[in-house]
């Protein structure tokens, strides 16, 4: 009969109304500033720089190779290399700025980095009152510890650590071998260049 559907609908909404008081699990709303949704591990917002040994200045993994600066599609990364007292460049960034109002979170910088030094962050509360200055993150803002990296992306960070450890061991083994070879002929050759770091073994981000 005409009108029975209306009554059915009214009963359904009444059930929802009273049910939302008696069964709190019905309420799907997350009341944001107090409650925050846990983001999935693969969530990414903007890049940050990883440092080791609790030293945000010296411990940066970045060697200022500028690959990321060149690869960045919107060109939001700016790097200046540190120089020693004689003006010779050393493997450390003096300036490392990322304009996150330009960054498009493409993760290309992470994928090209040979040293696993730049990674994607998960912070999203980045509102600022100023449009220009406050959204340019400097080296000191970008530097975050490896522990933090482990905290936000445990799987990925574990893989990266394993890989870095393996590379380091390989390097030490290689250096030992080289030393053994060099010691054996006992020829005083000039110190070889430290072996260039292993070819960029990319840490594939688990999809």
């Amino acid at each position: 009969m005409l009108g029975s559907g209306i009554i059915k609908g009214l009963l359904e909404t009444a059930r929802n109304f009273f049910g939302s008081f008696r069964q709190p699990e019905r309420l799907v709303t997350i009341e944001y500033p107090e409650q925050q949704r846990t983001v999935p591990e693969n969530n990414r917002s903007f890049p940050f720089l990883v440092f080791d040994r609790n030293d945000p200045v010296k411990g940066l993994r970045c060697v200022s190779c500028k690959i990321c600066e060149k690869e960045c599609p919107p060109q939001c990364i700016y790097i200046e290399t540190e120089k020693d007292s004689r003006g010779k460049p050393i493997k450390h960034p003096k300036v490392f700025d990322i304009d996150i109002s330009v960054c498009m979170s493409c993760q290309i910088c992470v994928e090209v980095c040979p040293f696993d030094s730049i990674k994607m962050d998960q912070t999203y509360e980045l509102s600022q009152f100023s449009r220009y200055d406050a959204l340019i993150l400097h080296k000191i803002d970008l530097a975050k510890s490896n522990e933090y990296y482990h905290q936000i992306k445990p799987t990925e960070a574990g893989l990266v650590d394993e890989q870095l450890a393996a590379e380091r061991e390989a390097q030490i083994a290689k250096a030992k071998a080289a030393a053994a070879i060099k010691v054996a002929p006992a020829t005083a050759s000039p110190t070889p260049k430290p072996p260039s770091p292993a070819p960029p073994a990319k840490t594939e981000v688990p999809a």
Binding site: M1, L2, G3, G5, I6, G9, L10, E12, T13, A14, N16, F17, G19, S20, F21, R26, L27, V28, T29, E31
Partner: protein
């Protein structure tokens, strides 16, 4: 001035006449009207603020959301925040708009609604304006809001607003017919157009049960028809086509912002209060208590409780039913409500002329026949409508 306590209503009336008597004699009529107007406006503005909050919270709960809960404890100060927001918002008038008419339209919507509120008796002797032709006056002032809708739609110089205004006018004029025809039964059987006498006549009790109009067959049918038509008349969901935001942005209110929009909003809610008050007065026994042992509660409290229930009903319906289409709306009005309200008049006449039946079971028989006079045609119309696929369940050609 000694306040003689006889009843809470008499106390209020004495308080007012005492206040008025303080003024010089020449100003007394003006002061008396001003006090009545102020009380009506303040009372219903307070109810308006509360209703907006309860509506948002209720709709939220219906959709399994908590609703507004940020401003103040449990979001109690939300209406204040809304008011401040609409006050400080920029008032935008379109460049092509007709400024004078654009300015006047919200007032033309609000003023008749407030006037209609003044006619509703909140208790015995507690109507701001108690006139002999009160019901006629109610419908007369109600017609002005159509003009307001048209002014808003035309003055904004926008195709959506004019479409919304046209829809609003067509809808209001169409639904005025079943609205008035269903009140006609009450007028016929109570023999008066005065709202306070209509409410007074429903004040008797029959074995402790109230003698409200809704407990008669014509009253029940009239109440349902009136309720549907009132929903359409006050542009509430599911008949909120004039502002159907999915197709018309905001209907005739599209080009309004800030305080003018708030005035429109207030006008709509005042209209809803007025028509709810009229429903209560005509069918739900006005200010009378539902049971004879509850008459010690003051009449205006009963009225406000009933008003709250009516508003809850409107919110519930809004949270449940989807908006109807224009052709469905018009078909429903002209092919369903109008014939039924005409038949309802016949049922009322039958009830009136069988009032002298005295044999045992007469009341039940009258009820059954009177109810059948409306229920059977209703079933007939709905069956034939379903056969013509006019009102059947919707067929989704692509979705299934």
């Amino acid at each position: 001035m000694i306040l003689l306590y006889s009843s809470p209503e008499a106390l209020l009336i004495q308080l007012k006449s005492w206040t008025v008597s303080l003024a010089p004699a020449a100003w007394q009529p003006v002061l008396s009207s001003a006090i009545s107007a102020l009380v009506i406006l303040l009372l219903f503005a307070g109810i308006f603020a509360l209703t907006t909050l309860v509506e948002r919270k209720g709709l939220g709960r219906i959709q399994n959301r908590p609703g507004p809960n940020r401003v103040g404890p449990c979001g109690l100060f939300q209406p204040i925040a809304d008011g401040v927001k609409s006050l400080i918002k920029e008032d935008i008038v379109p460049a092509a708009a007709d400024r004078a008419v654009h300015f006047l339209a919200p007032l033309v919507v609000l003023a008749p609604a407030a006037l209609a509120l003044a006619l509703i008796p909140l208790g015995p002797g507690l109507a701001a304006v108690d006139m002999d032709a009160g019901l006629l006056c109610f419908f007369a002032v109600g017609t002005a809001s159509e003009l307001g809708a048209f002014m808003a739609g035309w003055a904004s110089h926008n195709k959506y607003t004019i479409l919304g205004a046209m829809r609003a006018i067509a809808q209001m004029i169409s639904f005025e017919l079943p609205l008035v025809l269903s009140t006609l039964t009450v007028v016929m059987l109570s023999g008066t157009l005065s709202l306070s006498s209509i409410a007074q006549q429903q004040g008797s009790y029959w074995f402790g049960l109230p003698a409200w109009n809704v407990f008669t067959p014509w009253g029940l049918a009239g109440f349902i028809i009136f309720l549907i038509a009132a929903t359409a008349e006050s542009n509430r969901s599911p008949f909120d086509l004039p502002e159907g935001e999915s197709e018309l942005i905001g209907g005739f209110m599209t080009e309004y912002s800030g305080f003018k929009y708030a005035v429109f909003f207030m006008g709509e809610y005042f209209g809803m209060f007025a028509i709810s008050g009229l429903t209560i007065t005509l069918f739900l026994g006005g200010w009378n208590a539902p049971f004879s042992f509850l008459v010690w509660i003051p009449s205006f409290i009963w009225f406000l409780i009933k008003l709250g229930l009516m508003l809850a009903w409107f919110i519930w319906v809004r949270g449940t039913l989807p908006r109807v289409r224009v052709d469905q709306l018009m078909n429903f009005c002209w092919k369903m409500l109008l014939p039924l309200s005409l038949l309802n008049i016949l049922a009322a006449i039958f009830w009136h002329f069988t009032a002298s039946w005295q044999f045992p079971g007469a009341w039940g028989l009258r009820w059954a026949i009177g109810f059948g006079m409306i229920a059977l045609p209703f079933i007939g119309i709905s069956q034939s409508g379903a056969r013509q696929k006019k009102w059947g369940p919707r067929i989704y050609r692509y979705a299934d």
